[in-house]
């Protein structure tokens, strides 16, 4: 069979697709009623959803927002909708709103946690959105000191001097580097430790005596509610990031002893429930400290939560490291960069970028797990809900508080998980 040569003389333009395959009708046919099984599923699901909503919606919306006690609430509901109706008594949320959010933070200073929170978003922005100028990262690095100072208050010198410790470390590195590397490392480690332990306290006191700049100190047992969740969650995740990176590197090295310790630590932490670690924080940590050390429960919880999330972060970062092509290490080596330069300039920026979704999920997990601190007597939202119910005005209230707390957690976690999905998508396309 001979074939006929063919040349198209006129190119065809785009045509719109046939109507059956687009538009609402086409959509419904494809997505809801494609075949009998599919249609049946649609109908059943609709029924179940309708049933659920018909119970839930009246409770949520035919409800009381203004009342001083549960009894008053019940009375208002009975008067307005009759005794059959059971509506929510959101008045408790209204009355205790500030407490649920800030705990017992002095009312006059609420701007401080608020500002801290806003600044946190600013500090996070350059980490989370890679499009922003890199220079903003400087603020992100400084933020932990600023945030801690804003929340806990005290003289402005404390965070400044703590920061200066890193300057001292750099100085030690420089000075020691002139002589030799051993001295450089030793000085870079020892000098800042000496600075923090010996110099910082007296110097800080001296400076505050000279120039008493500062904020009214607020003790952390005044922290409560969602603020405690956010503070514990954020501190633990920020602190655990460097620790987690070190552990991940430790787990990856060829150095047997370092690797064994890293693995042992990671596996131990990941093998026990967080609640046992919190118990350690609340009942045992003092045994492990020199007599007389006494830091407050929230700080102890933050330490434990940090160790906890560090183990998880380490695994996430290890995933990021593993995802990097070997060529990146080799290219860095062949250019003459040393191990730490390569890590800092080449490997970590990429590995962390890959790991961000994982880090965000770790954070979500940790943030949710902060509710466990209610078990050791910290008044996080759940702990507070118990305390509120111990008030005779609200004794017996139940669903409303949990619904509210659950809702807020959902808002936080959901938006974060959406963000991490967005990142994952971005990374996926970025790799192609």
């Amino acid at each position: 069979m001979a074939m006929t040569p063919y040349v198209r003389t006129r190119m065809l333009e785009q045509k719109p697709p046939p109507v059956t395959s687009v538009g609402p009708a086409g959509w419904m046919r494809r997505n809801l009623f494609a075949g009998p099984v599919n249609s049946a599923m649609t109908v059943v699901t609709l029924g179940v959803v309708a049933l659920l909503l018909s119970h839930l919606l009246p409770w949520v919306f035919l409800s009381v927002w203004n009342a001083d006690s549960l009894a008053e609430c019940r009375q208002i509901i009975d008067e307005t909708w009759g005794t059959e109706h059971s509506g929510a008594c959101w008045a408790v949320v209204r009355e205790r709103f500030l407490q649920l959010v800030y705990g017992f933070y002095p009312w006059d200073f609420l701007w401080r946690p608020n500002l801290t929170f806003v600044l946190m978003l600013v500090a996070l922005a350059p980490v989370l959105f890679t499009g922003l100028p890199r220079r903003m990262l400087v603020f992100s690095v400084l933020y932990p000191f600023l945030g801690a100072w804003l929340l806990w208050g005290g003289p402005v010198w404390t965070p400044l001097l703590a920061l200066a410790g890193f300057g001292v470390a750099a100085l030690g590195w420089r000075l020691g580097g002139r002589v030799n590397a051993i001295l450089a490392v030793a000085l870079a480690v020892l000098l800042p430790l000496l600075w923090w332990i010996l110099v910082m306290g007296p110097l800080g006191r001296g400076l505050s005596a000279l120039l008493p700049l500062g904020l009214e100190p607020v003790e952390s047992n005044k922290f409560g509610g969602f603020m405690v969740s956010v503070v514990i969650g954020m501190s633990a995740i920020t602190l655990s990031l460097p620790l987690g990176i070190l552990l991940a590197l430790g787990r990856q090295t060829d150095l047997f002893i370092v690797r064994s310790f890293s693995v042992a630590f990671i596996e131990f932490i990941r093998g026990v429930p967080l609640i046992t670690l919190l118990f350690v924080a609340s009942t045992l940590l003092n045994y492990f400290m020199p007599p007389g050390t006494n830091f407050d429960l929230i700080v102890r919880v933050i330490i434990m939560a940090t160790l906890f999330s560090a183990a998880y972060i380490a695994e996430v970062v290890r995933g990021g490291l593993a995802a990097l092509p070997k060529g990146q290490y080799e290219a860095a080596d062949s250019l003459g960069l040393d191990y730490w330069q390569a890590q800092r300039l080449i490997i970590m920026p990429q590995a962390l970028k890959i790991a961000i979704p994982g880090i965000v999920s770790t954070f979500i997990g940790l943030f949710k797990d902060t509710t466990l601190v209610s078990i050791i007597g910290i008044l996080d939202p759940i702990g507070l809900s118990n305390a509120i119910r111990a008030d005779s005005a609200w004794n017996g209230i139940y669903w409303e508080l949990f619904a509210f707390i659950g809702f807020v957690f959902f808002l936080f976690c959901f938006s974060m998980s959406r963000y991490s999905m967005y990142l994952e998508r971005k990374l996926n396309t970025g790799h192609r």
Binding site: M3, Y6, M11, L12
Partner: protein, 249 residues
Amino acid sequence: MAVSDEVAIDIRSMNKWYGQFHVLRDINLTVYRGERIVICGPSGSGKSTMIRCINALEEHQEGKITVDGTVLSSDLKNIDKVRSEVGMCFQHFNLFPHLTILENCTLAPIWVRKVPRKEAIETAMHYLEKVKIPDQANKYPGQLSGGQQQRVAIARSLCMRPKIMLFDEPTSALDPEMIKEVLDTMIQLAEEGMTMLCVTHEMGFAQAVANRVIFMDQGQIVEQNEPRAFFNNPQSERTKLFLSQILGH
């Protein structure tokens, strides 16, 4: 390499959209039994989509595709029938990594054609010999080189004894040394008279075995001709431009 006048594939005024995007526009193509057709064209011109429509991996919205006398409709039976007559090789081989080479080749005959295992194994070994890797039969795909994997993929399709073979850029994911192995296998197949549609940019291959080259652009068949004429004397401007890029260096 005889071309009969029986029609193997017949595409009439076929149109396809992805959402609002009109990927394939008024495709008309008749392939006769024994023909070896090479399809080329710039990236995104719809080559893959077209041959995927032929074995119903993609639905088309308008027009009629008849494969070996069976009209492709939404009827599952027709689709099954067509698929068991048409073999397909993908750019990324898509071997089943959890099965050995032999299992890859016998899976479909056993479960679709209901061939007894022994017979299926014999057939598989036959085709594996044909593609020159009988000794790899008990390895897993991950243990083979790209070229070997692609040859397994071809053998796997052949085990279903298809009447028509579709190839979608079978060599473009391969290292240069391995391209030759695969092209050799395909040439051999062509010599045995298999009806073949092949999306490829290996112009050497096109010149050696194709009896028709189709050039696509913007979802349309822009030019078709026998290879010599196509390469030496392209008619349309687009074809010329494309060929100058491809053969450039």
